[in-house]
């Protein structure tokens, strides 16, 4: 089954190429082709999920092919529970993004679909790559099509947003490249083996300062993507200006790559440095939580509001990651999934709303629940999930994170929990202004059609599933989380309970 990993990456890539070359001005064909490809991807991912046993140690699937042997670069893909679930999320969100754009994208469908599929390939590659250079390749590969998705199909200030998005992320990732190279040479000098192999690099001895600098190189790249305060300012612009599909991919997947990077690379590769850095990272996380929540309160633009709420939620993820304990890590990973489903659902809903109202400004909406009860109900469900309603997706993650944080520091947990209360304030305020109250205009509104209901139902089921029965997901996270915990030098394996 290992070869399926390569299929996961190359199928959308070749699909993108095919569509770009043959799909000119054939909108219908392009749509269905893209949808088919992404659905095949989804079924492959589901199949992998089905086959894999959560209890098996280490990686579930591995592909290892030499690529540039002279430089020690391999085509090394590996899928453990975490990447499995994130790939699953990716393959779920891409067909949804295609469906969402079905009518709202009016021009150049072939390019659009090609870019979307290329982004998918990049993101899946990021989640699978275990060779650092390969990882970097995919990391950049997902940026470029995303840039064009924003820059070509976005709203009024799309170019500004696209530049900002790209330049921020690319600066971060290039610094990561320096860190990767530094790690490579240090490892090479120590062992004589020059390789970018993740597994080999795990055993690099890094003295204090060097390790810290290298870790910071990685951290900056991931922090930009997550994004952490104070390098978040690309996100609201990008979210606001991106087309709906772009927002879905951005919020649902791209932000996750940052958190994934922390989990996969930052902590295991630089355990000592990460331990030293953890308080700062958690402080940044909590600042992000509160800052995002605070700013979300005063946004007029509904997409901007969700963007700031994303900053807040991703703050929880960082929070959880750096607790470095079972609850925190599980919570962070699960929150990544939950946030992916919830926020992309919100963006999808808001995109539909925007198609109908022609505005994203809250002040121009109001009273839309009665003409569009289905849309309103769906938005309510996702809003509730976003504010951590138990039984829905985000709750499980956020609560686990807070339970984990509490074990590290009660005051930080309190500060984080304030974020949950704050999320209730701004999200309900948003919902009330958009959906409740007097109707702002007496135009004829059209409620959701079948396609839109299909999209939102899929996401709603995911949200409920994650909230009510997360076991099928959590089981797969056990091994990765334990792996990360074991890499923590402060906690000797097996004495963890005594440590508490």
């Amino acid at each position: 089954m290992n070869w399926l990993l390569s299929v996961l990456i190359f199928l959308p890539l070749s699909g993108a190429l095919m569509i770009a070359l043959t799909g000119h001005n054939k909108t219908i064909y392009v749509r269905w082709a893209a949808l088919t490809i992404s659905t095949v991807e989804l079924s492959i991912a589901l199949g992998l999920w089905w086959i894999a046993s959560p209890d098996s140690d280490g990686y579930l699937y591995i592909v290892q092919v030499p690529w540039i042997p002279t430089m020690g670069i391999q085509f090394l893909l590996g899928m453990d529970g975490l990447s499995l679930l994130l790939v699953l999320l990716t393959t779920l969100l891409v067909p949804i993004a295609i469906l969402v754009s079905w009518r709202s994208i009016s021009h150049n469908w072939s390019t659009f679909a090609a870019l979307l599929l290329a982004t998918q390939a990049g993101i899946i590659g990021v989640f699978l790559a275990l060779d650092l250079i390969l990882f970097y390749v995919f990391w950049e590969l997902m940026l470029v099509p995303m840039y064009f998705l924003i820059g070509l199909w976005g709203h009024e200030r799309r170019l500004y947003a696209a530049y900002k998005f790209f330049l921020f992320t690319v600066t971060g990732s290039l610094l990561m490249l320096v860190a990767i190279l530094g790690l490579y040479f240090i490892h090479g000098e120590q062992t004589g083996i020059y390789t970018f192999d993740y597994f080999k690099l795990l055993h690099t001895n890094l003295s204090g300062d060097t390790g810290m600098w290298l870790m910071l190189g990685f951290f900056v790249a991931f922090a930009v993507k997550i994004p952490l305060f104070p390098i978040h300012s690309w996100l609201p612009d990008a979210h606001t200006e991106a087309p709906t599909a772009g927002s879905i991919i951005l919020a649902g997947l791209l932000l996750k790559t940052g958190a994934y990077g922390l989990l996969r690379f930052c902590l295991p590769l630089f355990p000592e440095a990460s331990i030293d850095f953890a308080p700062f990272a958690m402080a940044l996380g909590v600042v992000g939580i509160l800052y995002g929540a605070l700013l979300a309160l005063v946004q007029e633009d509904i997409k901007r509001l969700i963007a700031y709420s994303s900053i807040s939620h991703l703050g929880f993820v960082v929070f959880g990651i750096y607790t470095w304990n079972q609850e925190g890590l599980h919570g962070a990973m699960l929150l990544m999934l939950a946030h992916g489903a919830t926020t992309s659902a919100m963006f999808a809903t808001i995109g539909m709303l925007e198609e109908r109202t022609g505005t994203r400004l809250l002040s121009c909406m109001g009273g839309l629940l009665s003409p569009m009860p289905r849309l309103g109900a769906m938005l309510l469900l996702f809003t509730l999930s976003a504010m951590g309603m138990p039984g829905l997706a985000n709750f499980v993650g956020e609560f686990l994170v807070l339970a984990g944080v509490y074990q590290v520091s009660a005051s930080l947990a309190i500060a984080g929990a304030m974020g949950i209360v704050a999320s209730a304030i701004y999200l309900l305020w948003m919902y009330q202004r958009a959906m409740l109250g007097e109707q702002s205009s007496d135009r004829i509104w059209v409620d959701l059609d079948r396609r839109e209901m299909l999209i939102l139902t899929l996401l709603a089921v995911t949200v409920l599933w994650l909230g009510l029965y997360p076991a099928p997901f959590l089981d797969y996270l056990q091994v990765p989380a334990t792996g990360i915990i074991e890499s923590n030098p402060a906690i000797m394996t097996g004495t963890e309970d005594a440590f508490r």
Partner: protein
């Protein structure tokens, strides 16, 4: 039996699900029937549990699956039905069922019944879930779920922004309490690595010393959650506004069930409170203060539903008082009786409001005066029960028992005095309403007939308001003493005063409501003959109700009431408003200052710097050959300079 436990919260959940998913295929009136059936299934299951002997057996347990399994963090979807839970589910499911039935006609005209019944069923499910939960996290789920439904139902008529805001206010205020509960859960988990309630409590009693720091902290945090949900001081502000919802909702959520969730929570975790006597005492103190607060505020209201809302706040205060005195069983008893008579009062009020063109004002209701005798009797029974009219009402038994139990608690006489005073006030305010609305009502005008479902539910509630109390006669009296004996194993029992003291206390408790009724009668008379009052000038100018009741109230009460009103209006509301405003200011300042000012400006500054660099450099590129040559020579000189240096 235990394999059917899931049906209790499950059937309303299913009902909600069906309404949500298949609602498109159903007609408006089907929703009510469907929802009522779901509630009925839950009720029948509870009944079945009684019949199968759940009352005497070991707690029933059922675990469906592990909800979130991470290390020790293993909350299950699992239910425990012990006696405490049995009482609660009985109350909730029976009143829930009655209110569903009542709603069939009450909401018949509304065009959005799907949403109404969806949330009503969901609420019932959440409430039953929170009662039956065998671990704290599932309890928290139910806890939040009822909060959500409360939010949605308060704002049910969401086109009115005031109502929508009231819902939001309720949700956010209670969420502050929830935050405290969540932190409590984290603390307990962090200490014991366990979420199951029974195991936690057992561990706590073993590992923690009485009066040490951890149990105090834990109990305080849990108390915070309970205060928010139960609308106790200082988080009570949301409840009066919550009356914006339909009356059955007020009856179910904001009188009978949800607001008592805090009482349930404390009763459930009472071993923790026993480990923290200081906190236990503060529960009693909060209860006492709230009693006075609610009762005095109720005196000042003219909106019938607001009277009942403040009354609810005050009555829940009694339950807190009982909990604070360790009389958990009695708190539960009062919870039960209160649920019935308060639901009765709300439904009666709702019927009156509905038949009188949405008239909420008691004076106007009195003037219209076309109330059927059923309504009149039901309200009277409810009012009497609320006031604790001796012997014949259920309210008397529960409230008297609490008052007596208070005496022997720490600083008991003081608490008792306040509580007794509250009890007097209770009689005054509720009978003030009663006299205003019903005294001198002329039944001449035609009454709209009351539909059968309403009649039935009202009658059943009225009956229950009378008889439920007979399960526990006052101490030293002949008759049944089922309640405290039955619950003693689970909830412990409070210490009792000596029999002589008890008798005198009981006597006072009997007399107080009667005095109160008398005072109310006088009050209303004097109010109706307003010009006889010393402050008659005010009466004439003040048709507006604030001035009216301010003038006719007896001076100390009046001052007290105004004091509390002011406390609420100025201190709490004002503070909240100020906090909101300052939060907004901070947020705006953040946006303008930090986000736009520093962060964005640093970016634009960087861009401008780069642009300037570009311009400067570009200006050197002026096309002059000699300049080019000069640059080359300069470069050469520079490079050579490195060597010659």
């Amino acid at each position: 039996m235990s394999q059917f436990l899931w049906l209790i919260p499950g059937s309303p959940m299913l009902g909600a699900l069906i309404i949500a998913l298949l609602g498109g295929y159903l007609k408006q009136r089907h929703f009510s029937i469907l929802a009522s059936c779901a509630a009925a299934v839950a009720f029948l299951t509870v009944l079945l549990a009684w019949l199968m002997g759940a009352a005497t057996s070991q707690p029933l347990q059922q675990t469906l699956y592990t909800w979130i399994g991470v290390g020790n963090w293993m909350p299950t979807i699992g239910f425990t039905l012990d006696r405490l839970a049995l009482v609660m589910v009985s109350v909730v499911s029976s009143i829930g069922l009655l209110i569903h039935i009542y709603s069939i006609t009450f909401m018949a005209g509304d065009s959005d019944q799907r949403r109404y019944y969806f949330f009503l069923n969901l609420f019932l499910a959440g409430m039953l879930l929170l009662i039956l939960a065998d671990n704290l996290l599932l309890l928290y789920l139910g806890w939040e779920l009822v909060g959500l439904c409360s939010f949605a139902l308060i704002g049910f008529w969401y086109r009115d922004p005031l109502r929508a805001s009231a819902g939001r206010k309720a949700f956010i205020t209670t969420r502050i309490g929830d935050l405290s509960l969540a932190l409590g859960i984290f603390l307990l988990f962090n200490e014991f690595n366990e979420l199951s309630v029974s195991v936690l409590l057992a561990n706590a009693t073993v590992q923690w010393e009485t009066g040490s720091q951890m149990p105090i902290l834990a109990a305080l945090l849990i108390l915070g959650g309970a205060i928010g949900k139960s609308a106790q001081l200082p988080l009570q502000i949301w409840l009066p506004d919550a009356m914006a919802g339909p009356s059955p909702v007020s009856a179910l959520i904001h009188a009978a069930t949800m607001v008592t969730a805090g009482v349930y929570l404390i009763a459930r975790t009472y071993p923790l409170f026993e480990l923290a006597p200081q906190v236990q005492w503060s529960v009693a103190a909060i209860g006492t203060l709230t009693i006075i607060y609610g009762a005095s505020a109720a005196l000042a209201q003219n909106d019938i539903k607001r009277v009942l809302a403040y009354s609810t706040i005050s009555q829940v205060g009694y339950m807190f008082l009982a909990l604070g005195c360790g009389a958990n069983a009695l708190a539960l008893l009062h919870l039960t009786t209160h649920a019935f008579f308060k639901a009765l009062l709300f439904l009666t009020a709702g019927t009156m409001i509905r038949t009188n063109d949405n008239e909420h004002n008691i004076h106007n209701l009195g003037k219209r005066g076309n109330h059927s005798s059923l309504i009149r009797w039901c309200f009277l029974i409810g009012a009497a029960s609320l006031a604790g009219f001796p012997i014949i009402t259920a309210g008397f038994y529960s409230k008297e028992a609490i008052l007596t139990a208070t005496w022997s608690a720490p600083t008991g006489p003081l608490l008792w005095a306040f509580a007794a005073f509250g009890s007097l006030l209770t009689a005054v305010y509720i009978f003030r309403v009663y006299f205003f609305v019903f005294q001198g009502s002329r039944s001449g005008s035609p009454m709209p007939p009351i539909p059968a479902p309403m009649t039935w539910s009202l009658s059943i509630l009225a009956l229950a308001s009378l008889v439920v109390g007979f399960v526990e006669f006052p101490e030293g009296w002949p008759g049944l003493h089922l309640w405290s004996d039955w619950l003693r194993d689970e909830l412990g029992s409070a210490s009792h005063p000596t029999l002589a003291t008890a008798y005198s206390l009981q006597f006072i408790a009997c007399v107080l409501p009667l005095i109160g009724i008398g005072v109310a009668l006088v009050l209303v008379r004097r109010e109706k003959l307003g010009f006889e009052l010393p402050l008659a000038a005010f009466l004439r100018t003040g048709w507006n109700f604030d001035a009216l009741y301010q003038i006719i109230l007896i001076r100390p009460y009046f001052t007290l009431a105004r004091f509390f009103k002011n406390v609420e209006a100025l201190l709490i509301e004002g503070t909240l408003q100020k906090m909101t405003r300052s939060g907004m200011t901070v947020a705006t300042a953040c946006r303008d200052g930090l986000e736009y000012g520093v962060l964005n400006k640093s970016i634009t500054g960087l861009l401008a710097g780069l642009r300037l660099g570009h311009m400067r450099l570009s200006a050197t590129q002026n096309g002059l050959l000699s300049r080019y040559a000069l640059m080359i020579s300069a470069g050469a000189v520079f490079l050579l300079g490195y060597w010659l240096w």
